[in-house]
């Protein structure tokens, strides 16, 4: 039982990160019906920009602890949001009126571009966040030993998600975002500047991805130029699992995927972990074709 709980917490930490990245996929999908395949690379870019601030600009020499983490997050999120904004302008906006799949291929190209750009700038070797920014303490909760850093990471990803949820559901701009995702034409008639809302989505989504990137850097230490592919695919899976386009769905999907992976690795097989995750996804989609929280869409007639 105790091991089970332990594995559950392992899964939650990973799942929190998946969820945070999945939000970027789901938000873009919600308004543009586009799978932004470059989102995984934006997440990796966040991790790298965090590294630059920490090591190259020497932030970790000045201060430690929570202050550093806060600054890192702001810095990486801000810059990656700008990258996301330009990504949309250059690679997606010209394609908004065309075939949906054209934008998908453009996204795939952008993803290859970003990944190789990071490789050229930061090198092929894995880079390492300096250790000791956050205390390495193990907290014992109900007999389950959890490293404090994992609790902090999970808590901050939940916090970010709550902020987003509040923003979408309790602000005027949030209402506009929801309106645009429901019906762009009608939203435009209501006086909403659709282009601005889409740009906004491409600021928020990548920013959340960047936050996840920094968290991965802080938690695991090691970042690599191609890390976006693996995390991106998992997060995208999570978004689909929860019902793409649906914000609580992405959160639930991410956390669920993390937990499935951890439990699958623990009780079935480690080598088959990813196969188990995908297999579960397929099973769930067979029974719920639009994901866990996705709305049933009637066929257009």
């Amino acid at each position: 039982m105790q091991e089970f709980l332990q594995q559950l917490t392992n899964g939650l930490a990973v799942g929190g990160i998946y969820a945070l990245i999945a939000l970027g996929y789901t938000m873009v999908y919600g308004v543009l019906k586009l799978i932004n395949f470059a989102h995984g690379e934006l997440f990796a870019l966040g991790a790298y920009l965090g590294f630059t601030l920490l090591v190259t600009l020497g932030l970790s020499d000045f201060m430690g602890g929570v202050g550093v983490v806060f600054l890192l997050l702001i810095f990486a999120m801000g810059l990656v949001a700008i990258a996301g904004y330009f990504l949309e302008r250059v690679a997606y906006r010209p394609l908004r009126q065309s075939n949906r799949l054209a934008a998908v291929v453009s996204a795939l190209g952008a993803s290859i571009f970003f990944q190789n750009a990071m490789m050229l700038v930061y090198g092929t070797k894995a880079l390492v966040y300096p250790g000791g920014i956050l205390p390495s303490v193990v907290v014992s909760v109900l007999g389950v030993e959890i490293p404090l850093i994992r609790i902090l990471i999970f808590a901050s990803s939940v916090l970010l998600m709550c902020l987003l949820f509040w923003f979408i559901h309790h602000t005027r701009t949030g209402a506009a975002v929801r309106a645009v995702s429901l019906d762009q034409g009608a939203a435009r008639l209501m006086g909403i500047n659709v282009n601005r809302i889409i740009s906004l989505i491409f600021l928020i989504g990548p920013a959340l991805g960047a936050a996840a990137g920094v968290m991965v850097g802080l938690l695991y230490g090691q970042i690599r130029y191609d890390m976006g592919v693996g995390y991106g695919l998992k997060a995208f899976t999570a978004a689909i699992l929860g019902g793409i386009g649906n914000i609580p769905g992405a959160m639930a999907g991410g956390i669920l995927l993390g937990v499935i992976e951890a439990l699958g690795a623990a009780y079935i097989s480690i080598a088959w972990k990813d196969a188990i995750a995908f297999f579960t996804l397929i099973l769930i989609l067979i029974f719920r074709p639009t994901g866990l929280l996705g709305e049933r869409v009637a066929d257009k007639v």
Partner: protein, 371 residues
């Protein structure tokens, strides 16, 4: 008109053929992109420096060395294309490459072109079991390392061990060889045997499971990034079981990732250049450090460098005819002083000799030879 066309074409071909080239061409096929790009980058850096030094010292028999580099993309398909390109550029010899399956995809192309190939990181047993007369490798084979790993476990006296690999050709081969040895010689009980997924970051699920079954030691046969992450996350969990690894963890990156948690980690590997007691090795390391401001990050670029060194020696002695080079490497090259120790090849092209040493990471993060 037609009558002249063929001779003309033949003449054209003849002028393009490598025999007329004044330079000695040496091919390097390395993973400059893809999963193993970090190894390939250092391979190229190290071999380039050796070529530079060689040319500064007057080249090989007065002819300048020209290094022709192609990217194998870390995939078999790209390797086939890279091999075609090197063949077309008329190199008599090729250094490379790193991954076993990738080397395998190129072996036949070189063999058909009669090119001498020296693989540098491909440890899979079957590569030299196919009877290619001009294929060599400067790295030892998986079974040799498996034997040493089993012996090391016996020497350290662990009785209950867990074996973890990452399902790559290399790691799985090593894990299987070690497991078979350990079981055959009754060295220890293997209470866990499974593969993790490389290129992920969170191994807490596996570690929690391992901690539950509590092995005396973990034998991890994969690469340094995963080893570093495992060590780091073990320390996070405050679990300090001894871990032993193979030569793919011989990389300074391990210490960078694991931080203080790397202390006490042990691995077996061919000797590092700094532990080779020859003036050439010392001088070369100094030059490398001066040029690139770092040490070679792992043993694999060093083995690529050694491939260059033996090829240079062979060409110096016998010229650029691949047949003669292969004969020289098979028979005449004995106990050559390389950057990774003495080099000789057996009739299959495998490197012979007792290469493996046991290393331990000390408190400062340095790799220290365990006597």
């Amino acid at each position: 008109m037609k009558r002249y066309l063929l001779p003309a074409a033949l003449f054209l071909l003849a002028t393009l053929s490598p025999a007329m080239a004044a330079n000695v061409k040496i091919g390097l096929m390395a993973p400059l992109t893809g999963a193993y790009a970090s190894e390939g980058e250092d391979m190229e850096k190290l071999v380039r420096l050796l070529v530079e030094e060689k040319n500064k010292a007057g080249g090989i028999n007065g002819a300048a060395v020209e290094l022709v580099v192609e990217d194998d993309g870390s995939t078999p398909r790209d390797a086939g294309n890279a091999a075609n390109r090197l063949t077309a550029k008329g190199v008599p010899v090729v250094i490379g490459t790193y991954g076993s399956a990738i080397t395998e995809a190129s072996q036949e192309i070189y063999a058909e072109a009669g090119i001498v190939q020296i693989a540098t990181g491909s440890t899979s047993i079957r590569l030299t079991a196919k009877g290619f007369a001009r294929f060599f490798r400067t790295c030892p084979r998986d079974d040799e390392q498996g034997r040493v790993a089993a012996e090391t476990i016996a020497r350290l006296g662990y009785k209950k061990i867990a074996i973890l690999h990452d399902n790559s050709v290399y790691a799985k081969g090593l894990a299987e060889e070690s497991r078979d040895r350990i079981l055959k010689d009754g060295i220890a009980e293997i209470i866990f045997y499974d593969a993790l997924q490389p290129n992920e970051r969170d191994y807490s699920a596996i570690l929690t499971k391992l901690k539950g079954i509590n092995p005396e030691a973990i034998l991890f046969t994969g690469y340094y990034t995963e080893a570093g992450l495992l060590l780091r996350q073990m320390a996070e969990m405050k679990w300090f079981a001894p871990m032993i690894g193979g030569d793919a963890t011989n990389n300074v990156g391990l210490v960078e990732i694991a931080g203080p948690a790397a202390k006490g980690y042990r691995f077996i590997s061919p000797a590092l250049p700094e532990d080779i007691d020859t003036p050439q090795a010392k001088a070369f390391l100094a030059a490398y450090k001066a040029k690139y401001r770092s040490m070679p990050s792992s043993i694999w670029p060093v083995l690529a460098g050694d491939a260059f060194n033996v090829l240079a020696a062979a060409i110096e002695a016998r010229g650029t005819d691949p047949e003669a080079i292969a004969a020289y490497l098979h028979r005449d090259l004995k106990d050559f002083d390389g950057l990774s120790g003495k080099i000789s090849f057996d009739e299959k092209g495998d490197r012979v000799g007792d290469l493996y040493r046991l290393y331990e990471v000390d408190a400062r993060g340095k790799f220290v030879l365990v006597p």
